[in-house]
């Protein structure tokens, strides 16, 4: 087939594959800027990273939940931080079209970096997907809120609320299990013609999360693992550890941010997410990042036993409020006692506030995730461009 594209030419495409089209550099390109200037930039970059992440660390948990770690608002700040770091990193790396990145040993690091970029893009997509699940849950919660807000409150409303909440809680708790996703809807599907059996499916049928848009063996935790697996701190000292250092820092930032996102938001196969990332403690900028990691890891250990769908604070609250409202609803009698009503109203208010946060925060969060996607893509393209200009075919770069 290729031959026909070239109208009778008998040249196989592979002849002019990249090996031929590579260019062996035999001239020395002088680096722009002095060594000193570069070192300064590097240090500044690392300092900024440290500063920004310290800022994230200091969101203290408080009762009114301002920017608790792993809340939607906090995630937004996290993404913002990432975007700032990324912008600075890019300036450092691509400053003056630095052709150093095409040469060893940097080119191997860059190649790994680009590989991480691709995985990051897939994770961004998975996160976007996961956000949709959250939206579904919010909607279920809103049914309950609406129902319980009716006055006067009748048994029907309470049952309705319970149904919605059961659905919600079931969906959240089963979200993470491998058996979820398509199977339930498929089961319902295959029973299509036998209407009777459908009734049994109804309680869990409609809150299935989106069917995965990637193949079933894609795993968020494996992606993160692969990304962090080859993170090796550059040996200190001169040579070209010049650029190796910011590459290492940025890689860690990238992996951490994605790790936090995957911990917080439901996405395909996150159950085996590692609870710690290999960041050496002695590096100055790493302190706050490690601090955050540890906090998140703690949460993870606490919650994961219950098989939760995501550490996102708002999800946790949905589940908690949902559960307690279900219990409350179980004790409903008509007409309800004032005490019962008061209790219900308090809980509904909490749930409602939670939903409001979700409503407000989800769209901007998604937009940010998409922005992260764009940035990574752009940087990747620019780096690839530089590599191509240098003409060297790097080791299999994606």
């Amino acid at each position: 087939m290729p031959t026909s594209e070239y109208q009778g030419s008998s040249v196989p495409l592979s002849f002019l594959g990249r090996s031929i089209l590579s260019f062996r550099r035999n001239q020395i390109i002088s680096m722009e800027g002095t060594q000193e200037q570069e070192l300064e930039e590097l240090e500044l970059f690392q300092k900024h990273v440290a500063d920004r992440f310290t800022g994230l660390l200091s969101s203290r948990p408080s009762s009114d939940g301002i920017d608790n770690i792993l809340s939607i608002a906090w995630l937004r700040k996290l993404l913002d931080t990432f975007l700032c770091c990324e912008a600075e990193f890019k300036a450092v790396l691509i400053h003056g079209h630095n052709p150093q990145i095409a040469k060893p040993p940097l080119n191997r690091l860059i190649s790994e970096f680009l590989d991480r970029d691709v995985k990051a893009l897939d994770i961004c997509n998975a996160i976007s997907n996961g956000v949709e699940s959250i939206r579904q849950w919010q909607k279920s919660a809103e049914i309950a809120i609406f129902a319980l807000g009716q006055k006067p409150l009748g048994e029907g409303q309470v049952r309705r609320a319970k149904k919605a909440l059961n659905s919600l809680v079931a969906s959240i708790t089963s979200e993470d299990k491998e058996s979820n996703g398509n199977t339930s809807t498929e089961r319902a599907w295959s029973f299509g013609r036998r209407s009777g059996a459908l009734i049994k499916e109804r309680s869990s049928g409609h809150l299935r999360s989106l069917s995965p848009s990637v193949s079933r063996n894609w795993s968020a935790s494996k992606q993160i693992q692969a990304m962090s697996g080859n993170l090796v701190a550059p040996r200190g000292g001169g040579e070209s550890s010049g650029l190796a250092s910011p590459v290492y820092v940025m890689s860690n930032v990238l992996v951490f941010v994605l790790w936090a996102l995957v911990a917080a938001i439901p996405c395909q196969e996150r159950g085996s997410l590692a609870t710690h990332l290999p960041v050496p403690r002695q590096l100055a900028w790493a302190g706050p990042v490690i601090g955050l990691q540890e906090r998140i890891a703690e949460e993870w250990k606490k919650k994961e036993k219950k098989g939760s769908a995501g550490l996102l604070e708002e999800i946790q609250r949905l589940e908690r409020c949902g559960q307690s409202l279900i219990e409350l609803a179980d004790s409903f009698q008509f007409p309800p006692e004032a005490k019962w009503v008061a209790e219900m109203e308090v809980q509904v208010a909490e749930l409602s506030e939670n939903c409001r946060k979700i409503e407000e925060g989800l769209v901007p969060l998604q937009r940010q995730v998409r922005e992260v996607f764009h940035r990574i893509t752009k940087s990747r393209t620019e780096v690839l461009d530089i590599l191509d200009q240098a003409g060297k075919p790097s080791t299999p770069v994606l």
Binding site: E5, L16, E132, G154, G196, V214, F334
Partner: protein
């Protein structure tokens, strides 16, 4: 106004009916579906609900408030299940049969045909599509064309009776305040249907990582398939889903139809576009250009329909993503072209092509450019900047400092193509220097530049873009190379046949120095033999050019030899062993020249062969 007792009785009956169908309460209720059975049953049930709703609206009911709200809740739960059941029963995924039409279980309004097995090649495919667009309006019976999905066509995904039922149910649910539940049920079932249709259309679930890892050839096939699938998805599948939502939910609640539509298609749409996005960010390399352009064109073509189908505010992100992908693909195309130019400029192979024939680089580049001219329409729009003719790094010895032939009104695309040809030539000139034999390097250049010229002439679009001026310039170039070749080889040969130095003026013999003459003949013979042996292995692939070159050689060689022979043969023949010196007749030479540039070695001695020929003829 009915008397309250009558109202109460009706209410009571309604309530009983609803409770009868409470599936948590009775086995029978679980086994059967109201809307599957008797029409009247369904009607009665709905009327019962209406009755209860009416009673809720009026202020009279206060004590059985709870009972009534409870009844409504039971009814709504029931309706939810009925709704789901009707949807599932009447939904089948879209089927695309390679040989026939797109259909779902119900009657379709239009048909589209796919021929999945025959994949026409690049150029033809584009022309076929254009042909289809022309034949579009000519009816479905035409056996030579197949209609592709070029515009929105909605088909009935669910039969009308079912739609009527669904709408009746939705009405009640929404007016009872159960809009959210309704949307949820609808969305979950229809979304599964869309997913199933996707599978049927061959829309795959590939991650970006997957796409980067695949071989480009495999991706080309997937892109082709994707383009066809995307057209069906946007123009038929999504459009039909939208219409279905409208038919069921229009006017029933604030933006209910839009909410249902989004529930159904938003995620699948994003999944669909993810593939195109993954392609648009893949690593750039020249062979990807044309498929990327195909993808760009088809997605660009789809955009207006995407905008139409996803017109609401809530679906903005889908429109935005589609537009982003189109512009990324455009960027990719530009980047690839630029990278191609770099690659041509830097192609470093130093191994000289044996026989001085056409270099694979030349073929590749010229074929590539010809293909580009086929995509002229799109590329004219996409390529807006002039090629960067300056070398990227100062002092780069590999950059030609040739100025682009100054364009009067040439489009940027044309400038790029000319530039590519300029750098190709520059590269070829560099390569020609690797030949040890100067004559061969001239032949090489001649062959390659000639090939370029022929390629341009062979493509009207290309010719138009390049312009005749430049073409003439190239023609002069290869003719010059031919001339250089002739000088380089034949001057030596003809030098043997010159007059000077042969005449000796002296007292004893006026005339010719026999020894010098003999030397001349010997030189001539040996040089000619060497040239013959060597240059027979050289290749000028183009028949006409080969002929012309030979004729040109003969035009110079034969008269000179004939005249030389004529003037001096007597002197040789009058001496000893004339055959050692006059080895060849004019005919022999003519025959020998026929061997030149054939590309294979001659093994037999010249004269023997011509003797053989004479004997045989």
């Amino acid at each position: 106004m009915e008397p309250p007792e009558k109202v109460a009785v009706k209410l009571d009956a309604a309530e009983k009916l609803i409770r009868r169908w409470d599936s948590t309460a009775s086995e029978e209720a679980r086994e059967r579906m109201i809307f599957d059975g008797d029409l009247h049953e369904a009607d009665r049930y709905l009327q019962a609900i209406d009755e209860i709703q009416r009673s809720m609206d009026s202020a009279t009911v206060s004590d059985n408030q709870s009972k009534v709200s409870s009844a409504i809740q039971i009814a709504m739960t029931r309706l939810e299940d009925e709704f789901r059941n009707i949807l599932i029963t009447h939904t089948t995924p879209l089927e695309i049969d390679p040989n026939s039409s797109i259909r779902s279980s119900s009657r379709t309004e239009t048909s589209g045909e796919f021929d999945d097995d025959e994949y026409p090649e690049e150029n033809r495919e584009r022309k076929e599509e254009e042909q289809e667009q022309e034949e579009e309006g000519e009816g479905e019976g035409s056996s030579t064309s197949y209609q592709t999905t070029n515009s929105i066509r909605e088909i009935d995904l669910i039969p009308s009776e079912a739609i009527y039922d669904l709408r009746s149910i939705a009405e009640r649910m929404i007016s009872s305040g159960y809009l959210r539940e309704c949307i949820q049920v609808y969305g979950s079932v229809r979304k599964s249907a869309v997913d199933a249709s996707f599978r049927g259309l061959g829309v795959e679930k590939l991650s970006i990582g997957d796409v980067q890892r695949l071989e480009w050839e495999a991706l080309e096939t997937k892109i082709r398939r994707w383009i066809r699938a995307a057209k069906v998805c946007v123009r038929i599948l999504f459009a039909s889903e939208k219409r279905l939502c409208e038919r069921i939910f229009d006017g029933l609640g604030p933006a209910a139809d839009d909410a249902c539509f989004m529930e159904t298609v938003k995620a699948p749409a994003i999944q669909l576009f993810n593939f195109a996005e993954a392609i648009s960010i893949s690593r750039r390399s020249p062979e990807k250009l044309f498929k990327i352009l195909d993808l760009h064109d088809s997605l660009s073509d789809l955009l207006p329909d995407v905008d139409l189908v996803f017109g609401s505010k809530s679906s903005e992100s889908v429109r935005v993503q589609a537009a982003e992908i189109v512009s990324r693909l455009a960027e990719a195309a530009r980047g690839i072209l630029s990278e191609f130019e770099n690659a041509v400029q830097r192609e470093p192979s130093k191994i000289p092509v044996p026989g001085g024939t056409i270099h694979p680089l030349t073929r590749y580049v010229m074929n590539y450019i010809s293909l580009i001219s086929n995509y002229k329409q799109t590329l004219m729009e996409l390529i807006v900047s002039k090629p960067s003719t300056g070398s990227r790094y100062s002092g780069d010895p590999t950059a030609p400092d040739i100025e682009l032939p100054e364009p009067e009104n040439r489009s940027p695309l044309a400038l790029h193509l000319i530039w590519i040809m300029v750098i190709l030539q520059f590269n070829l000139e560099g390569k020609s220097k690797h030949y040890k034999d100067a004559s061969l390097s001239h032949i090489f250049l001649m062959n390659n530049v000639h090939y370029i010229v022929e390629k341009v002439k062979g493509s009207p679009e290309l010719r138009e873009m390049i312009g005749d001026d430049y073409l003439r310039k190239l023609t002069r170039k290869f003719r010059q190379a031919a001339t250089s070749y002739e000088r380089s080889t034949w001057l030596r040969v003809l030098y043997c046949l010159r007059d000077e130095g042969l005449h000796v003026s002296g007292s004893f013999s006026s005339g010719v120095s026999k020894s010098a003459l003999r030397e001349r003949f010997k030189s001539f013979n040996s040089i000619f033999e060497e040239v013959h042996r060597t240059q027979a292995t050289w290749l000028v692939p183009d028949t006409q050019l080969r002929e012309e070159l030979r004729i040109s050689i003969l035009e110079k060689l034969i008269p000179a030899y004939r005249s030389f022979l004529g003037r001096f043969r007597n002197h040789i023949e009058s001496g000893k062993h004339p055959e050692m010196y006059i080895k060849y007749s004019v005919d022999d030479l003519e025959t020998a020249v026929l061997d030149f540039f054939e590309g294979h070695p001659v093994s037999q001695h010249l004269r023997k062969r011509s003797q053989l020929r004479n004997e045989l003829s």
